[in-house]
Amino acid sequence: MITAELIIPILAATVQSGTPILYATLGEMLTERSGVLNLGVEGMMIFGAFGAFLFTYFTGNPWVGLFMAGIFAGVLGLLHGLVCQVFQGNQVVSGLALTILGVGLADFLGTPYVGVATTGFTPFEFPVLSSIPVIGGIFFKHDALVYLSYTLPLIFWFFMNRTRWGLAMAAAGEHPAACSAAGLNPVLMRWAGVFFGGFLVGLGGAYLSLAYTHLWTNNMTGGRGWIAVALVIFAFWRPGRAVFGAYLFGGIMAFQMRLQALGATLPSSLLLMLPYALTIIVLLFSSARGKGRAAPAALGVNIEPGE
């Protein structure tokens, strides 16, 4: 049983580290399914993390903080929508600007709070399920945000494939002209895509400041937003593979931290490279094209006015 005692904590840490990436990946996936490429995930995520911290700090209620994280990141998403939908700006450049802006804003507004602790989400044993051997130890001894994240891929799938709004959103990403010919409003769908996608990204940020740590530090996201952008491609824009991808990265981060804690002889800077190197390797495995693997056809293409 020595092996199980060693492996179960690492797998539990995998789920924990994978959760913020899962939120961010699903958020970016929603935005991209509606046809908008938003490279500002890193900026939205850290801005959301700051919103979560700030409102939890002042209200003492982490659920208020969680909601505000979504709003903070969603508002940045709306800014991307404003630049790309109203002003017809290039989506790549707008996304990069959003990252620079979001990271700057969180850093600037958060400076007075660096190192300040707050309340947040704490782990509790999920009734009944946590007593299942092995599985319980890995999946059901976490905090509320992790449990919430388990339901998310299913909701995402159901929304995109079984609801009117979801299908309309996918149509806006595949073929805006056909979408509007069918009497739907693709521009509106894209507004919803940037806002609610941003909202989910913000929840991932909130996980970092309210559950992963309970304090505010600069540069909290450390590239997780960019990993999420890569994972959307890796997942072929489908939620199931996003779960796999997010936990893969959670695993490598948990492994890297465990090695560091054990006092590995490898220097920490080499260990810290692992997730970034893995991102490139993971993308290599998803570059093969095939049926059901393509990006939404109109991804990154603005809908011009008067069309």
């Binding site: 900026g43 290039n90 850093d107 600037f108 400076t111 952008v229 290599l284």
Partner: protein, 390 residues
Amino acid sequence: MLGFRIAKRQEPLQWGSFFIFFAALALSLGISCLLLAIQGKPFMRALLLLWEGAFAHGYSLEDTALKSIPIFLCSLGVAVCFRMQVWNIGAEGQYALGAVGATWAVLTFPDAPAWALMPLMFAAAAALGAAWAAIPAFLRLKFELNEIISTLMFNYIGMLLLEYYVYGDWKDPASFGFPMTVMFPDTAIIGSMFGRIHWGAAVCAVVAVMLSVFLKRTRLGFELMAGGENPRAARYARMPYNFLVMLVMVLCGALAGWAGLIETSATLNRLQPNVMVGYGYTAIVVAWLARLRITSIAVFSILLAGLRVGVENLQLELQVPAAFAGIMQGLLLITVLAGQFFNWYEIKRVSGMEGEVDTPGNSGNAGNAGNASNTGNTGDARNAVNGGQE
């Protein structure tokens, strides 16, 4: 019924970009002031300090000029990449590798004479920087791997690699545990040209002239300028598209590598982690604002360098966090991007029932076809998603 209708212009507004830039600058400054006001800082005084810190005195002008040197070198390379619709945002990592390469040369041959050491440093910095760009370029051409993500990941890895050396084998034993190499010997330090301005400025001038000649006077340069506009047409015209993509990436890597070398050698005189201050990201802003016009790149490099120096002054006088410079860069980029809309579209007042207005826009002022401003704004971002290959 009175309404408005948005119509695409036949030709882009001639002097539009000029006014748009100043409107965007004013808007960015306004929003920045609002943020300062939220934190209870006197924003009018802040604006004055920003100006004084960057451009008002000889000393501050020198600071601005010094900071604009690495930004200019990085921006040239990034602008060439953007021209080819190659979204290389990896200048930061290529800069790091350049610094590592130059330091390797110094630490390996500390006793070499300057005439041998300097060229070796430049060669090593260019080679490592170029290699750091060539890998993402290869991955894009061979595996259609998105270069935005790969170059960004290479930024993180490059920075960590620099830290690995500085915290590890290259750490000066006499540094009391601080992560820094030994002070470079005099033979490895780029000295001053006039005042505090070092010879890095001359490197900028030489590179700018050579790049200008390459783009305007050689066949390859012409193909590069034309190929970026329309990759498919470029391939019909039997232009070596893949070769050009690799070329622009390697060029950017080498130039960013030199920027890293110059900062390490001329400014810090040794390698330490704080050589990484985000010049590679500022270069993205400059390259997009200036496009591939070398004089514009110089102007915007100085402007954004001034912004950085000005914010340092704010930091000192009003305790404004350093991140303020990032906010202003992000705001400037986003407002100029949004403002470009007015270059390409006009809002017409529509009167009457149907409101059919058929004047062909502002085509009175003959737009020149050589205007480089049609690279990014309205072009779709599809290339960025699919790796550009079709």
